[in-house]
Structure formats: C-alpha cells, structure tokens
Symmetry: D2
Subunit: 464 residues, 4 copies
C-alpha cells in the first residue's frame, strides 16, 4: 500500500493418508497466508499421481470459486502458493505451483525465497538445451531437481544433489506422484514448519497460522538445510545440508509474519511487543499517547505503552474493504489521498504529544504524509519510533526492496536529517543488537544483512 | 460475519458548483462507508439534469471499475449508496439509488432507514394504479414524494408533504435536475451530516469519515426532521418537522459507525472507550488481560483496560482478505471453522484469566465458539463483558435482527443462564442508563427500544 | 451488421399444466428467436405466483448460464424476451420482461412493437402520480393495464380496457399469478402464434421456429385484436378488438423472420423464393450467376435463379463466430473492413456478369462497399436487385430505421441515380404490388407504410 | 456440434517492416480462421525482441478484448493460433503460441498438425533433463529446435536439423527476436500459404481467407518441406526437405477449410461443387429436391443439383448464435434436441423425394436423427449421399477422430447395412478415385489414409 517491503511468497502442502478434500484445506490455509502475497495464487492437487492445478492473478477467495475447487477435485496431496509479483513479472507462467510432467513421474513445486545464482544456472541449462516458459526461479529449481533426478534413484537424493547447486534462500514444497518433500536452504532464511491433523495428515506451511486455520497441530519447524519426505512409508528426514549456521530473516518477526504465528519457538506478536519495549528503553520520550501504524506497528506501540506507562491509543483507522481493482487516486490527488486507506482518529491525537510507531521506513514519503495527517488532526508533537534498525542494504534473499538510491536511510547521513525530512519532532530506530533479541528464546540465528551489509552467505558479485 | 447485527445502509451525496468528477468523489466516499453495507452499491450522476447510474451487487471496489466510472461521466451532482441486503431481497430493482423519470423532471434517491408504514402506503398507492418494480421501501418514498410534487410548486414543499405521510426512520438524499435535497426523519434515527470541500462543493454523508476521505470539512449534522436544499441559489433549510424529540439509534455508537466518525458531536471511538470504562465500573473482575472481539469490541476493551488497570492485549487476529465469493465451510465443518476468520493469539491468553469484551450478543452461538477457542488456547478463566444492554426487542428502524425467538436474551431468563449457555465464568452487560451516556456531550437523544421495548414513535400493530 | 433494419423484439411464453423446467424451454425458444434481437434478453419464471427473473445485456447463451437458469428455478409459467436496443436506450430498466409487484398480484410482461401514443400516456400517468424507472414503452403498457385492473374484476377485462387506450403495434405476453395472457394489437402489425406441446403445455411465440425448437406443435396465429387467456380453466378468447383490418409488417417476410417460420399460414423462405421469382419477372437481366447477400438475400437469389434459369452461386461467405465484444475496425479501416465479416467467394464471381440480390437498401453505403468487393474479385458486371420496394417513409410500428435524411431512396430522385451512387450496372426494386403477394395464401393484410407513406392507422402528428 | 471431425488448429503470422498494430491484424486473421478451432486461441507479439502474449480458452472475439489487445501493444511481428482441444487436454499450458525464453533469444511458436514420434522424443528429452509443462506437441517441437539451435549458427539451420528429428504433420510458424520462420513438413499434410500486404508486410496463414480478411494479397503456398525465413534482409527459403512427395489431407477440401479459401491453387468451394457433381454421376437418384447439411454439405448439394438438374433447396436452418456456454440439452432430451441447432425447413421438403448431401458420416447417430427430422417434416423419400468415401482408418496427422470402433463404416460390412442403420431409402459415398479429383488443377498430391489405410509416411507401431 505505502511503498512498503514485500515478502515474496507463502507456501502450504498437505499429505493425507487417504484421498480427501485436500484442495479445500489448501484453500483455507492459503487464505490464512494471504498476507504473504496478494497478487497471485495457485493450488495443485495430486490424486494418486494425477495432477490438476489452478492458478491465476488475484486474492485467494477471488481466484478459487466453488467451481474451480470442484474442478481440482479430491486428492491425497496438494500444495499451494500465494505470491507478491513485482512489476513486469506478472506472466501466468510465473504463477506457482509449477507443475511439470516427466517420464520419471510428474512433479509440482512451490517455493518461497530467492535463488542468488538463478541467472547463471539458467544460462547453463539453456546452453544444454533447456527451454524456459517464464522468468521465475521456480523453473530453475525444477531443472536442478530434474537433472539430479535422472542421475539418481530417489527424489530425496535428487533434492540433496540439487541443493548442492542452488544458492540463496528457499523453502520448497515438492510433490511427486507418491511423495511430499519439504526442504529449506542451509541458512533457513525463510520459515517453514510442519504440523499434523487429527486424522493423520501431515502438513507444511510458511507460518503456523495456516496450520491453525485447518485445525492442524504444530509439530516443529523444518530445520535449516533439512529435507523431509512424507510417503506411505511415513516421514523420513535427510540432514546432509544441516548445521551450516542459521540466518532467519528478522523481518519475518518485525513485519512479514502474522501476529498469531509462532516461528522457531517465538510468538510473532510477542516479538513485536518486545520490540516496542526495547524502543521504550532505548528512546524514552515525554508524550501523551502512543499509537501504531497499522497493521504491524500496532503491537510495537502497545509494547512501548506498557513499558513506558504512556497510554496506548488507536490513532489510525485502516479501510479493510480491498477489492480486486480499487481505483487509485491519480498522482495529483495522491498527496492527500493516503487518508482513503488510512484515516486519523482525531479524538485520540488532538491536542496531544504523540508517539507514532511503525515497523520500518523505506522511502519516507508515506511516513511524511502520515505525520502530516497527524498534525492536521491537531497533534501538538509527533515523535516517530521505528521497531527495526535503518534499512541500508539490499536483500538478496526474498524481500522485495526499492533500489538503494530510494532508501531514505541511504539518502541522508544522520537520523536527524531523516527526522527533518519526514517532519517529526524526534525520530528513533531500534538498535541492531536489540532487534535480534525480540524473538524471545528463538532457536535460530538471524540475518541482519539489510542493516549491516553483512550476509550469512556470499552474494554473487553481479547481483551487488 | 458471525450472525451479528446489520445496519441497512449508508448514503452519500455531493453538489459541485461546476461539472466535475463527482462519480470519483462518490466512489471514495462509498468506500469509506463500506462498513455500513457490503452486499450492493450504486452511484447516480446528474449532469445538468441528465442522469446516469450504475448499481450492482458487490463491494464498492468490485462494482465500480475504471470503465464503469468513466461511463458515469462527469456531473454537477451525484448520490451513492451502500447496502446490506437481507436474504431473499437481492433483486436488482432494490439496489439504490433509485432513478425515476418524470414529466416534472427526473429524480434519484437513496436512503438509510426503514419506513414503518411502507406496506400500508404501498397497498394504497397500488389501489390508485401505481406499479412497483421491486420490494424495497425506496419506491414507496419515491411515490410519496412524486404524489406530493404534482400538487405543489417545489420539491422542498413536496418533501415536506411526503414527510407527513412517511413514518419511521429515514435519512434521505434526493437529487432533482437542479437541486440536492437532504432530509432526516423527525426522530433522527439514522445519522446524516453535511460538509463542504475547499472548492465549494456541499456534501452529505451518513458518517463524517466519508467527508474526511475526500478532504471535505464537517459543517454540522442534519437536524432530526430537517430538510436541506442545495441549488444554485445556495443552501436553504426547512424545519417544519423539527423539534419532535430526537432518538438516534444508540447502536450507531456501539457497533455500526466507524470509530473515526463523529456523530452529533461525539467521537465514536471515544464512546466505545467510555462504554468500556463504564463496564469496568459496573462489572469489576479480577483478571490478567482484557481483550476485545474485533472490530468494534477493541475500543471497549481498551477502555476497560485503562479504567481497571488490567493490561490490554490483542487476543484475536481477524483475517482481512475478504473476497467476493469466499467459500464458507460446510455446516459440519463450521463448529471449528470460526478460526478461519478469527484466530486466537495464543501468546496473549495462554495461562491467563481473560476478560473478553464484545459489543453485543445476538444468538450466542458465535460467542460460545469464540469462548471455546480461548479455552483451547489455554485461558484459565474467561469472563465476558458486553458493551451494550441485553438485546430483547425487535428494531423497526433499520437494523436487521433475527426474530425474537433466536435472541439469546429472550430465550433465557437470567444472565447466569446465558453465561452458562455461552460457557463463560462470568458475564456482564452494560446497563441501559450507562449506554445512553457513552456518547460524550452528544447533542441528541437516543432510541433504546431494542433494550426496553419502548420506542420513540408508535409502531404499527401489524409489525409487532 | 451493416446499417440494416432492426426488428425490435421477440417474445415467448409457456404455460405448463404442472410445475416443470419452464426456464429451460424458454431458454431454447429464445435461442431460436435470437435473430429478432441480439442486444438484451430476459426470462421471468412464475412458480404458483412467485416470480423470479433474470435479464441482462448480451446474447441468450451468454446471459443465461447453467447457474442463472438454476436460480430461476422451476415454475408453471414463464415468459422471455429478446431485444434490439437502439443507441442510448441501453439501461437495465428497459430490458424485458418487466416484472411488477402489486396488491392485486404480481404481473410480468414482454412485448414486441411500438406504442405510438406512449409519450402522451406517460405524461398523463406522471401527472397522476406515476413514476417511471426506464424509458421503454413496457412501463406505459403496465400502467395502462394496472389502471384498468383496479377498476375491473379480471385481467382479461383489464387487458381489453387497456387496448382502448394503447395505440400502435404490440404483441404482448403477460403473466399473472395464475394466468398467461397473449394479446395482439387490432392491426396485428407484429406476429404472434400459439402452439401446444405433447405434454399439454400451451406456448406463444413471435415465430413458429421457436415452437419447433422445443417440439411444440403449431396451433394457430393469435388474431389481430385478440386476447387469449390460459389458466387452469383452459384456454379462452376475447375478440372485442378483432376485425379492424389487418396490417402485418411485410418486412417480417422480406427480412426479419427466420426462413423456417410460418406466419399467417405462409412459409417465410417460400415467400422469399417468390420475391426472387417476381424480381426475375419484373427485372430480367442477362447474367452468368445469381448470388444473394447473406442471410435474407439468399432465398430470393435462389428464387430468381430458378425462375430465370441463370445458375445460383454462393457468392459471399459470412463469418459466423460472433462474440460478445468483437472489436470493430476503426473508422479509417472501415471502408475495406466489410470483408472481415463478409468475404467474396472469388471462384463464383470472377470473370462473370453477376446479379446480386439483397432484401433492402437503407443508407446505401454498405451496398456500395459490397459491390466494390465484387468488382475487385473480378466480376465483369454487377446488377443489383432488391427484394422489396424503395424504403421511403418512417416506420412507427416497431422497426428501427434511420431518419429519413439518411435513406438513400429519399436522398435521390431516381433509381438510376441510386444505381450510380452504389456503383452497379443496373438496379431494380420489387414493386409494391408484388411484395404484397410474396406470402403465398397468407391470411392477413399487410402494412406497406414504409414504401407508400400510407399507414393502416393514424399516426400521432408529433411523431411525424 | 454433431460428433463431426475436428481440425486441430489454424495459424497466422505477420512480419511488418515497421512497428505497427500487428496484434490487431492477427486478431482479424484469427477471426477468419476461427472455423479451424473454437476452443482456445492466442496471440504473441514481438516488439524488437520483447515478447508479449495472451492466450485463453474461448472464441477469438471473447478472448481478445480491447483491453487485452492494448496490453499486447504494438510490434513488428506477431503470430496467432486457434485450436480445437480434445477432452482432457484443456490446460492453459497447451494453448499456443508457446513462448519460450532462452539465452540465444526468445522464440514463440504455433503449429498445426500432429507429431507422430512426439512421445518417443519427449521421453528421450526428459531422460536428458528436459521438463515439460503441458502435454501438447508444441513443447516437443520447441525442444527439438532449441537443441539444434545451440549446436548451429542460425535459426534456419536449426529448423532444418529439427525437421530431421520431427516426424508427422506440421505447419509451423516461429518467431525469433528478429525473424519470422514458416515451415511445413515434407509431405505438406496441412496447408500453409504466404501473402503480402500493400504496405509490405509478409504474412503466413493456414488458409487464404485469413489473408483476405486483412487485405493481404496471396503470393503462394509454402511448399511441402520448405523453410521460409523473413527478416530485415528479406525473404529467403531452404528447400532441403522438399520433394518427398506431397500428401495434403483431402478433408481440407471436403470439410475443414472455408469455402472462400484457395489451397494449392484450387478453390475450396469449387472443389465441393465438383464433389457434388461427381456424386451426381456416380449416384444418380430420382428425386424432387437436393439439400445439403450445413455448412460444408451445402456446396456439394448445389453441385449435385447443377449436374443432375434436380432443384436445389435450403432444407435446414442452422442457428448461428453460438455463445460461450450454450447449455446443451441433457442426454434424455437429446434425441429430439438436434433441432435446437438445426431445424428442417418444412416448406422445402414436405411431400417431396429428398436427396440430402453431407460431407462425411462419422458415428452415424446424428445422420440418423437428421433423417428422422426430414421424415417428420413430410419428406416421402430420403436419399443420403456423402461427398467423401467411407471413413475407415485412423488419422495420425492432425484430424481428431473417434476410435475405430465408433466409426459406422467399420461397424457395418456394407453400405446397405449403414443405410438401414441411418434410416435412409438409399445411401451413396463418393469414390476414392473421385475425391482425389475434386480439387481442380491442384498442385499437390493427397493423403487418403483414412479411407484406404495407406499413409504417405510410416506410422509408429505404437500409435496403430
């Protein structure tokens, strides 16, 4: 909406002991994961080796009608995908799950992440005779697996070999005629967890909220580097690629994930409350009310309020009725038009010194407009606090960011200058040390590359 | 969502000094009023007496595309309408605005409310030769005005005469070739306010949030019984029907209106905070956290938390991605399926004594399910508080309610029995005295008929 | 397609002895009548007094899906309508059948024709308090019937009274809770026939081809001025308005009706063959091949070929795949773009002297283009013959024509001048005397007002 | 409609000297080729190496809206495709043109035909690591070309090499960043011709009617085995694969092609007239009228009438208003429901001895129904003549046929038995010798494999 960061994807998979309505379960789970991607979605159903799929641009409840779900039919497995599509990348061919047909059996795959050596691999495969229909990395992954598969006896082994080839971030769900495979890159940049329903189905999802939506019980997170295989023979695991040091994207806690999800043992909403509390300790401000920018700034604001004792208020009302084709105000109208989607609740801020908390500042233009709205509504002071450190470096692992020259933290030398640009009385960011502590007792390490420029793995030079 | 109360409608009108993009302004304003009706919507544009309209079932951003807005064209006036349609009442003919063509000039009208003597009037008109295309009261209103219009010299006078005939609740916007008329029933059951844009357009809306969405400034509420006419000659008013004692529906503050709206001088969100504070005084409970049921219970929960000192928490996560045709779980799945739309945030309630605040209880089944979810998530005690009195009598003035035999407060004699039915450790309702005080300094009286059975005007026997 | 004449409508009605799938029968019958109107269509179903309707812009198989037919449900009666909509008259409110709800019972009506005193009646009704939603005459008819109905005891009598009021052309089908009424204006300008299915249903249709499509047997034409009523008591007739001299539109035989229909006892295709034969007698030409302009010129060409002995050839291929939104070539491309829809079959005309037969010439521009195509394809001579007389006067009875100043026969004084304008070597029209003889043994008189300016009934001055 | 034969596809390509509206030209050309495939269609536009495509299920004017054509934008080349899809083969992935992205440049391809060794090639490619998205042969062709391309210096040479690999029938249009390639299999089973517009664009199409629709002039047919390349350097040709003996599918003349097309120098409509004349010589019958089954039987009937002197009549009226989702009568209704789409013109056949000519008999059930309709309409005798020989063997070269056990000519030993099954007084087929003579002066040989079982090339055993 407001030039924010974008997660690239969310994935879900289900393996049922018997043929059942796996499309419907996947539909509800994708609906729960909709916040991870609102542009495209798809479901592939596997009925004893016969694959049927439906994918299109649009929100889950728009793309999947009663009719299209019925056409997908029943099955013993299904995988689904939701996706944010960057501009120019909106071809049908790029919508996942990718279904490919092969003499060794059909496979369908969906993934979340970004393959850093995709263009090298693509070029290499093409020179060997491969053809690509779309531009997404999913076809590169499919080739890597297929090429391994024809040299080895099992899909699990083929995945292990493919992981020697693929660099970067990936949480993959893959469906063969008889097996469901879940794999996570050795650093575990993107989350992936496993659950089980009461009737014995094994499910995988980017976030635990998807498990809850279909009444599945959380079992555990897939480990960084782990390959889990589910089949009639049960669940098996391959940990060849494990143990290389984990680096979960910290923005999953700060912004991407749904508050009711639990990742690596830590509650997302609690992490945001803690971020707010850390902010209160690092940046004490004299004020009358603490408000958050919806949706992910709300928990941090509440955390700040609790720690500081300053009252929490609901300062903004966000319009929830998003349609397929909402007509955006024209550029000329836009300066004032933020309020069509986000209106200030005047009674909360009028005549008050306001602390406003947001999860991040990307380009700064939206923050400036929102601050302006608060002043128009009568706020006497506006102090902005950000529940993450300044965003200064590109992400190569699945977060869609503006180029560096648009990042406000790159354009200005000091926080004071940014504060001036945005028009606030004061501005504070959460420190890098603190942001890595917000996920209480989390069982993983974190990637903080976008704050520090230091990435857990080498990044190909041509991407930099 | 969950068998809740339904407001029937929202209206918006704009009178521009020059021909301009009134359809677009109406589009944004209806988007801001979407919470008042999600089933149907429509816009009628008036370009110097030429009327063009578009109306259909669906959300505002789904019904109005760039193409349909362009077809509506420019104009100097427009009115729009959003609507909740009760089952069986889904005919195109019933979608407003109603546009009629007449030798004395075309008119378009949209209204919010309920005409209590509609069926008598309809029968009378039909026996005089009238024909009706649909089943909504809007055609009855149109006949009442038309029949008056052919006997008098002006539309304002015709409206005054029609108001002698029409009984019940109505906030009407009416557009003739040259004038915009706004009228409110003598009791002012439903809200209607007036504003002005910087470039001189006069606007009317059910709620002030619609004014803000298009940067119009609030001027004042239309008075109960008042008729306001806007034309090239300026703004004039007729107060013949004023002064009969106002009775605004208190549920506008409790539940229907958007928190950032101001009605009769009182902030809606502040009213809800105050409802929570009154609840804290009337029903003190020992607990560890106060949570609200989204969306309208949230402010009341925050108000209770502030008054009581018990921490406020975000106990539920509501899924926001509503599509046109979300596939509901089947009846069999439904018991557990509340969580597809509303999931408990386990980290907030686990191991805690919880106060859960909702705005009302209608049939009680949804409350029971939500309480069950809280217990499953580990709440050790669940105390439910309701920010309005028990709902025991039918509403004849524009709120869609279940028949009395489904109302939980009618089915059981005592609050304790209801508490047992819902499965809570304790239950408390806000008193009738307090609910009338929640709108701070409101300049109006309130209708509390649904709590007390005493209505501000006589209700036709056959309706009872 | 090519600036041709347009019939306004086609109607169909079915009365079943028991509740059955009347919507489906009506769907197939409307499909058979699609040539009478391709812009809008609608069906109203009557299930023991409960009316459900669906109507929209589009072709019958586009508007009615399996889903919309299912929503219409079963019934014991249904009426349907297809319609050509002139520009600017495309409002939903004007799409028939019109369904109105009334204290004396709901009615639905559909009609084909044109009420010549509609605007006077409309004004009169409005001054009595009536309101109109659309601009079509169907609401005027509904008011005329309703106003009569409240003064008399039966719908049949009300229809008889309404026919005292209504002037012009109308073939009406009307459905009350318990009865199906069919009525035709006293001159019988537009056709209407009655049939019966093997299982006892009574059906009415504009043309007999609709009866055949649902395997109903033709019984007879409704007489000019006759009112037929079908109910549980059987079929009754009222002939009060009969005997005023019939004047069927001769263009029903020349152009509008489907070749396999039989009207007033005469086969339409045979009438066209006879028109061709009369042309051969009136306009003998030396030539090598006779071709017709699809579709209605084909039979006349065959008739000419048979009478003259000159070989018949298929000179044009018409593209049949008409979609909802075929993108027309732009004005600049249009001169040459006739051939996208109508291509010359070169092998038939190359090096030959060609007689080309069409049913009429309206503005002449399309004829000129087609003649040019023939010459480009190598025709050495092009002789055009028209199977109707020159079209010189407006029609007030249901045919949509260009204003007189665009009619080529009004713009030029002589046939030779028209021939020169169109670019043919010779041109001949069928005589007025002959065109009235083409329908062999037809049991009716004909209106030839558009050729002669003499109409069977007086035409209101203001229309002229 | 009636269990008839189906052509698999039609193709069109345009190479413009400058960037222009190639999408629009392709749209009109595909509209002219719609009879070759009504299930799916697609267009790929090439703007100096940037490819944009749109493809979907549906008729050309339904799939391509003003909006989708605008999104395709302008370009210097485009190719398009229409397609009949057999049941179960309706995946998006199979709709052409196929667009693939490759390090050596993107290519788009569309083809008409059937690759007889597709499954062997597919298996071989998959074992080398290839992945397939769909099930159509177009991906196999793309791999064959790509694999050749990476071993050679030019696309023309790559196509020549690929043609060593590909067996069967194919008329291919292929677009690289800078070139348009047209190629036809060495036997030339399917037609493909070349034309030129007045402004210098080179175009290719399955049939010449597509050239005429956009005012392009016919140049010549692409030769069997020829590869034509169009680029900035002009038009070049490669005839390496030419001269292997041509075998055009004779059904192109009998049934598939549009009557106004010219293939290999012979007019299609004239070929059908000649087929009728040969029938008259081989099967003289005493009768009163000759009628054809629409659409392709009409010309043959006219040819029979001319040769025999028996009058030609229009015995059937076909409903032309085909929608996207016409609701078929249920199986129970079907026996009688042929007439919804095809009604007998009673005045033409009543009381007469009728000769009915159709292009082929596949399963015989539809013929039996139609004959029954004629008898019901009063025909005293019905003699059926077929303008092709009995259809006894499968086609491996792009015609979709029922399996042999459904072919009536396989189920019965003699023509008399078939006549009895269909219910005609007599039945005659055109001889194999005559059918090969119908295309007057055609410059090619013909495949008559479906009549004789002798195919111009070897057919893989596993297909037989």
């Amino acid at each position: 909406m407001f030039g924010q960061l974008h997660e690239e994807c969310g994935v879900f998979g289900i393996y049922e002991p018997v043929v059942s309505n796996v499309a419907r379960s996947t539909y509800y789970a994708l609906y729960a994961l909709q916040h991870r991607g609102q542009e495209c979605c798809g479901i592939a159903v596997n009925e004893n080796g016969v694959f049927r799929s439906h994918r299109s641009a649009g929100l889950v409840p728009d793309v999947f009608t009663a009719e299209s779900l019925e056409k997908l039919g029943k099955g013993n497995m299904a995988i689904g995908h939701v996706r944010y599509a960057s501009f120019g990348d909106f071809n049908f061919e790029n919508i996942q799950p990718l279904v490919i047909r092969h003499v060794k059996g059909s496979i369908a795959l969906a993934y979340n992440g970004s393959i850093t050596n995709a263009s090298e691999l693509r070029r290499q495969y093409e020179l060997e005779g491969a053809i690509f229909h779309g531009t997404s990395d999913s076809e590169v992954i499919a080739y890597a697996i297929t090429k391994a598969r024809i040299q080895t006896e099992s899909i699990e082994k083929a995945m292990e070999m493919a992981m020697n080839t693929l660099k970067g971030a990936y949480s993959i769900l893959l469906m063969t005629g008889k097996k469901m495979i879940a794999a996570r890159d050795p650093n575990g940049f993107r989350p992936l967890c496993m659950g089980k329903t009461d009737d014995g189905a094994i499910v995988f999802a980017s976030e635990s909220c998807a498990l809850e939506s279909i009444n599945a019980n959380f079992i555990r997170d897939v480990k960084p580097g782990e390959i889990i295989s589910v089949s009639e023979q049960g669940v098996s695991t391959n940990e060849t690629h494990c143990g290389k040091g984990s680096g979960l994207c910290v923005f999953e806690f700060v912004y991407f994930a749904r508050p009711d999800s639990v990742i690596e043992g830590a509650s997302v909403s609690e992490a945001r409350l803690r971020a707010g509390a850390f902010l209160a300790l690092e940046h004490p401000v004299q004020a009358d009310v603490v408000i958050g920018v919806p949706d992910s700034g709300l928990d941090a604001a509440l955390g700040y309020a609790r720690q500081s004792g300053i009252p929490y208020g609901v300062g903004f009302i966000k319009n929830r009725y998003v349609g397929r084709s909402f007509i955006q105000p024209t550029q000329g109208e836009r300066e004032e038009a933020v309020k069509i989607k986000l209106n200030v609740n005047r009674s909360v801020v009028e005549g008050k010194r306001v602390i406003m908390i947001d999860d991040s500042i990307v380009r700064g233009t939206t923050s400036a407009r929102i601050v302006n709205l608060l002043r128009e509504a009568g706020a006497t002071e506006v102090h902005m606090l950000v529940s993450s450190p300044p965003f200064k470096y590109p992400c190569y692992f699945g977060t869609d960011i503006s180029s560096q020259d648009k990042l406000i933290a790159c354009r200005f030398d000091s926080v004071d200058e940014i504060a001036k640009e945005i028009g606030v009385d004061s501005l504070g960011y959460l420190s890098v040390e603190s942001v890595k502590k917000i996920a209480k007792n989390a069982k993983c390490g974190f990637c903080d590359g976008c704050f520090t420029g230091k990435y857990p793995v080498e990044v190909p030079e041509k991407l930099q």
